[in-house]
Subunit: 409 residues, 2 copies
């Protein structure tokens, strides 16, 4: 991909609206565009990162046998009245009427709708267990939208729902999901903690949150610097007795054992092996995808820009071509790398070297290749690792070996 | 994929709400679920087809150098006031206010928003041309929602936008897009016609529509059975003089030369080579993705179910296992086929052969493999081609050769 032909127009100045590193760098780096306070569009660079995160999530969801679907955006208010959550959620939901006076909600979540859908198809224990998920934009009429994608009025969410014949089945599904969540966040390059949590307005009797430590976090945990554990409550560490210190955390995922609250409300029952009518036992499993993207940027950056983990970077390599006459060499090197399924952003612009370096650091692709004057003679290329700032000077064979090793190709 | 573990629960009875073949079969076959009149959810089978169509579109858009982005769902009303289209579109738009009295629209299209976004980044002719696209759910407060996905209140749309320095650039982009649209619809297995059309409320001075002939179509063209041409106006064929007959058509795509209507309204100007300030010249290019999906089903079905074209079928093969003891053989055959990147739905259910055949015909995967009693002795398998109903009896080697040939593997 050529930089000169791409929708990558980085900003020199810091955006006025950005209140944290992730929002500042995502806006400045042309990943996002602000449409209104709390409302953002994903520009091509941001869309690339978003899809990489989505595909990591899909891979792990599918590995559990979960199936992807796409629920409607318009949710009839009657669904929410069945659980009474139209009142619980109240003003946080966008509500409006259509020309026929049907009232709709733009869903902040979809427990009601998925239960209504599944109810129509499930009648026997033979059809269970089942897990369904979607990756969809959700909405909140947020009273204090801030920190870019951290707290916004529309956001991408992965919401999964499990359907079991009993608590034991739910327990097994829940345990698998708990494990897979760890895999997802690890693969996204996040340092996170898992804590038991309240179920709150979701109902049900068990839940776990997945949290990333960051100064802009809005949740609070208590940290023991002795044993490295996190707790929900302040005081002394129950494990080593040390004083716990307050840590601000970003919630990136939350999973719940819902039990039968929703299936009872929607009459989502099945006949068990003995022909007895029972409510389906449900779990729900959320990941705040856009918030996760922001959490990655927030915890993986320096003063020059973002440092994307390899798994989610928009490109694998920024190839800076510092002399126009080297373009043919750059194209041929890029072709070799693309054959290894490495995605290369060739900075072919007629710009000063400094501009190219600044943009490469701002965009944050993991590896920066610099093709300068002495490439023609030496046939060796400079590689800089974005994260460690380590510099290597490699010939083509060494470079390919290095990258193959980094990407397990 | 095992049928017994999948969210595929076909309905015995025809759904009451279905007014046409595509809606009837998509509901009955567990592709879609109706949430409210004109509002549908894509169940896992439908989501599979949708993503196949989306990926065909992406491949062709990317081949033009177009970049994918994801605009916000919430569009501030102020954007629509700038072009006056808030009045033109009127009641067709869902409009509502948030808690801070900001008024938003759920976009039926996105010319305004994309122009507002691009305006912020483009200042020089050096940054042009550019083409951006997204595949996104759009909304219409439809007074007469009907025919399932044909005319619904929310629908998936591919909307692309081109940005050029002048009419000539637009002309070139438009021509390329016109050609690529033909490729997309062909690859989706559709018989379609391309006709010059009015620009209507979009503004601009040229447009083409892409239409599929079907009884439930809501657009009308006039057809010459002599030379096979389609025309916008009734009368006699200007080419061969024959009487034109009326044909009902489904519009699946529409492309427009917009000119500078939107760039003028949003002050989206650039400096040309001579330093003169000029408005960006725009084009827009839409595909009604969910309608296209319905048009495929509508024009590719028989009394037993859908007959998906190979490019968009949920699976490539339905493998019906008629004896439980043959399951190990079915799994090993499926593994071989999956290695050829053929996706197999193994019907492993404890159901009568008739039920399995009915479902295979209803779901409409292109090839049906039948593993019955005599497979153990003969090692030959029955293959039925869904479309032609042609039956073959093949050994493993012949089967693989046949499928490799069909799928160009």
């Amino acid at each position: 991909m050529l930089f000169s032909k791409s929708f990558i127009f980085t900003q020199r100045e810091d955006p006025k609206v950005a209140e944290c590193n992730s929002a500042r760098l995502l806006l400045k780096g042309c990943f996002l565009s602000m449409i209104s306070s709390g409302v953002y569009s994903y520009l091509p660079l941001g869309k690339r990162v978003l899809e990489k995160v989505n595909n990591i999530i899909r891979k792990h969801m599918n590995s559990l046998g979960a199936e992807e679907l796409q629920l409607s955006y318009l949710q009839p208010i009657e669904m929410w009245e069945k659980t009474g959550r139209d009142k619980d959620l109240g003003d946080i939901m966008f509500r409006f009427k259509d020309r026929r006076a049907r009232e709709f909600v733009l869903g902040p979540t979809a427990e009601e709708e998925i239960t209504e859908v599944v109810r129509k198809y499930i009648s026997s224990y033979k059809q269970l267990p089942l897990t369904l998920y979607q990756i969809q934009t959700k909405f909140r009429d947020e009273p204090r939208a801030r920190f870019g994608l951290m707290r916004s009025c529309e956001f991408v969410m992965k919401d999964a729902y499990s359907f079991d014949i009993d608590e034991q089945g739910l327990g097994e599904n829940y345990k698998k999901m708990l494990a897979v969540y760890q895999d997802i966040f690890k693969e996204c390059g996040l340092e996170f903690v898992t804590v038991e949590a309240d179920s709150g307005f979701m109902g049900g009797d068990a839940s776990h949150e997945f949290m990333v430590s960051a100064g802009i976090g809005e949740d609070i945990l208590f940290y023991c610097c002795g044993c490295g554990s996190y707790f929900k409550k302040e005081g002394n560490c129950p494990q080593c007795g040390k004083n716990l210190e307050e840590k601000r955390m970003i919630e990136i995922g939350h999973i719940f054992k819902l039990g039968t609250k929703y299936s009872q409300a929607f009459d989502a029952f099945f006949l068990d092996r003995e022909g007895v009518r029972k409510p389906i036992t449900m779990g729900c499993y959320g990941i705040g995808v856009s918030r996760l993207l922001a959490a990655i940027a927030e915890t993986n950056c320096d003063d020059k820009g973002i440092i994307w983990p390899k798994s989610v970077s928009p490109f694998d390599i920024s190839l800076l071509v510092l002399e126009e006459k080297l373009l043919p060499q750059a194209f041929s090197l890029s072709e070799i790398l693309e054959k290894l399924k490495l995605h290369v952003l060739i900075d072919d612009r007629k710009e000063a070297a400094g501009v190219k370096f600044n943009d490469a650091f701002l965009l944050g692709n993991p590896f920066i290749l610099i093709m300068g004057k002495n490439y023609l003679n030496s046939k060796k290329i400079d590689l800089e690792i974005r994260k460690t700032r380590k510099k290597l000077n490699l010939n083509e064979e060494e470079l390919i070996k290095f990258l193959k090793n980094e990407y397990g190709r």
